[in-house]
């Protein structure tokens, strides 16, 4: 959804005659638009009913949402491909040894790092962050202390959607945006979160690195394994750390 929105926003910006570098702003605005539109609709309308229920139900609900959004994007944007090439050429090329790289890839790494640190800082170092963490730990206690839990849920979900849409928007310039791009992301995001351990930002960062490196390693050393390198990495981590790498210690129950 983020990628498609980015395609439209960059096109509108270009049509309105903005300078090419403005297309980066278009990407961010596209993500905000998706978050603002989609998040309240989905969270209030649907997910609210399932809070506190078995988490497997939530996985199924999001799977159903995935099916619906897949066709929704097709109805809105049609089946033909979109190219969002303006931002891609903005950062020129970089010669590293005899390999030529596109500046955009490095910019992407920087943006990812900034987002990661930003979210970490937001959660652990600001008042709102503390409130969100409190709600995650136990909603009842937080609400008894006067926290409007439902608004925190909506805000947290919207921010999550914004980051996901931003991911789509930033990838859009590198690929041809068309039906079917979304399938591969689902499993990779599962793998990253599970390897990293639920609810831990450092975990997600490390998880993403592991998944990325596993894939790259497979491509360079043993190409046939590329297909299931991610799942192998996920299985191996789960075998040794059943709760993922960074999960918080659980209190003893008796």
């Amino acid at each position: 959804m983020g990628a498609y929105a980015a395609a439209s926003f960059v096109a509108w910006f270009a049509a309105a005659g903005f300078a090419p570098w403005m297309s980066i702003i278009a990407l961010f605005m596209a993500s905000v638009a998706v978050a603002a539109l989609l998040a309240p609709l989905v969270e209030r309308g649907l997910l609210r009913v399932f809070y506190g229920r078995d988490e497997v139900l939530l996985v199924l609900v999001t799977y159903a949402l995935f099916l619906i959004l897949e066709d929704a994007t097709k109805l809105i944007w049609g089946a033909n491909p979109y190219f969002v090439s303006a931002p891609y050429a903005l950062f020129g090329n970089v010669q590293v040894g005899e390999q030529a790289y596109v500046g955009y890839d490095f910019a992407l790494v920087v943006v990812a790092a900034v987002c990661g640190i930003g979210v970490w800082w937001g959660l652990n170092r600001t008042r709102i962050g503390k409130v969100v963490l409190a709600v995650i730990h136990s909603a009842e206690v937080a609400s008894s202390m006067g926290v409007n839990v439902s608004r925190v849920y909506t805000f947290a979900f919207m921010f999550g959607i914004f980051l996901a849409a931003l991911g789509g928007a930033l990838t859009a310039p590198m690929i041809s945006v068309q039906p079917g791009v979304s399938v591969s992301v689902v499993i990779v995001s599962f793998a990253v979160v599970i390897i990293g351990g639920l609810g831990s930002i450092e975990g997600a960062a490390i998880g993403a690195l592991i998944v990325g490196l596993a894939r790259a390693l497979a491509v360079h050393t043993w190409p046939p394994a590329e297909l299931f390198s991610i799942y192998l990495a996920m299985a191996i981590v789960l075998v040794f750390r059943p709760e993922g790498l960074f999960l918080r210690v659980k209190a003893r129950r008796i």
């Binding site: 190219f83 050429a89 790289y101 079917g180």
Partner: protein, 426 residues
């Protein structure tokens, strides 16, 4: 024609469809969603819609000018091929049993083709595979109700190798990047075997197999640039090929190696100036910019372009050639049985071993005992025409069917390894 459904608690039973007046119900199955929709599915279905409408109005040029099929109006039923072979087998049974279609034309994915062919055979219903390329359909099995009106994928890579040989392009070392599924493996093996025949001593270097629908090729491009070869062969197509070109272009991969694409014409309209010049590519037949000059082709080109505002590429071409073949077969069968709608057996007998003209040249059903078509093909080089703001194909070389297709009864791979025995080339 109204369709009645009663939703019972126990299950949903569809009453038979009452048809007001005699129509030829035609099932059309192709990708309407998923990653193959944009490149193969939707363009082919748009082509089918345009042609069927023209048939029903009797506006097609002779010898296809009768209304519908032999006077009988065509009623198409469109089904989405996305969802895996299991779903396609169920959908095919529903088409034949529930929707009572007289014939089905469809299937792009080779997995789907392999799955549905035996089902049509078991149900003794008429099926035309219009697009999938795996040679295994008729090499591993024998069918009397199943036909394929497009040549299989062996010819694309053979023609590619012959084009390089004819232009004596250096092929001392070759890198490969193909999608990690049957189509990718077969194309890589065919080209490797052909290269071994035509360029003895050429060395295969990096051999990459990214996941189907990967979309992110940063790592692969770095691997290709780490050991640049004279030639880089790929059978990537659709969104994956577009992403690969978008990511490899700025990194000068196309300048440091001669990239060769076995089925790449369908991405040209979309990529436009982002497609580098000098890339050698095929289109699995003489399609689009490489199609031969003919009245039929001009009519088809205008019909498709008016309806869809983009010129037709390989997918709609393969759909139209299958519908033209079907039309002639139906009309031939109706002549034989006194004007009645032909049974699957009569249709099969009429199509078997037949030949007909199509916008992409002559289609001859001369392989696999008259069930597998062969056709001419062509290879060209990309050149961006700034004036017309579109990518054109130059230095086009045509290859007659007999030069690039194995003779009847010989498996594709054995034919290549056997040094193209019996190939008749100009």
């Amino acid at each position: 024609m109204k369709r009645i459904e009663a939703l019972l608690i126990g299950g949903l039973f569809a009453a038979g469809s009452a048809c007001a007046q005699e129509t030829f119900k035609l099932g059309v199955v192709s990708f309407l969603s998923g990653s193959a929709a944009e490149s193969f599915g939707v363009p082919a279905v748009n082509g089918a819609k345009a042609v069927i409408e023209a048939f029903n109005k009797g506006q097609a040029p002779a010898p296809y000018n009768k209304v519908g099929f032999g006077g009988v109006r065509i009623e198409p039923v469109y089904v989405d091929e996305n969802g895996g072979a299991t779903k396609q087998v169920q959908e095919l049974r529903n088409l034949y049993d529930r929707d009572k279609v007289d014939a089905v034309v469809g299937y792009v994915g080779s997995g789907d083709c392999l799955a549905v062919a035996p089902v049509a055979e078991e149900m003794k219903k008429f099926l035309i595979l219009y697009d999938c390329g795996t040679p295994r359909i008729f090499e591993d099995g024998k069918y009397s109700y199943v036909f394929r009106t497009a040549s299989h994928a062996v010819m694309d890579n053979v023609a590619l190798a012959r084009y390089l040989k004819a232009r004596s392009i250096k092929a001392g070392s070759i890198n490969y990047i193909n999608q990690d599924y049957a189509w990718g493996h077969d194309s890589r093996n065919d080209f490797k075997a052909a290269a071994a025949q035509l360029f003895p001593g050429s060395k295969a270097q990096t051999d990459l197999l990214p996941k189907f629908g990967a979309g992110q090729y940063g790592t692969e491009i770095s691997a290709l640039l780490a050991q640049p070869a004279d030639l880089t062969h790929t059978s990537l197509w659709g969104g994956d090929l577009q992403a690969f070109v978008l990511q490899a272009g700025p990194r000068d991969l196309f300048k440091r190696t001669q990239v060769v694409i076995s089925a790449g014409d369908h991405v040209l309209p979309g990529l436009g100036d982002k497609m580098p010049d000098g890339v050698i590519l095929g289109a699995r037949g003489a399609y689009g910019l490489m199609s031969p000059k003919s009245a039929l082709n001009d009519w088809w080109w205008k019909l498709y372009e008016d309806a869809n505002k983009v010129y037709p590429v390989q997918a709609p071409y393969r759909m139209v050639q299958s519908l033209l073949g079907l039309k002639l077969a139906v009309e031939k069968a109706m002549v034989a049985n006194g004007g009645k709608k032909p049974s699957p057996e009569q249709l099969a007998a009429a199509l078997k071993g037949s030949e007909w003209e199509s916008p992409a040249g002559r289609i001859r059903m001369n392989l696999a005992d008259g069930h597998q078509a062969t056709q001419d093909t062509a290879i060209g080089r990309t050149k961006y025409d700034a004036a017309k703001k579109m990518v054109t194909l130059v230095d086009i070389q045509r290859f007659p069917a007999d030069c690039v297709n194995p003779p009847p009864g010989v498996k594709g791979e054995d034919w290549i390894k056997g040094g193209f025995a019996g190939a008749k080339c100009p």
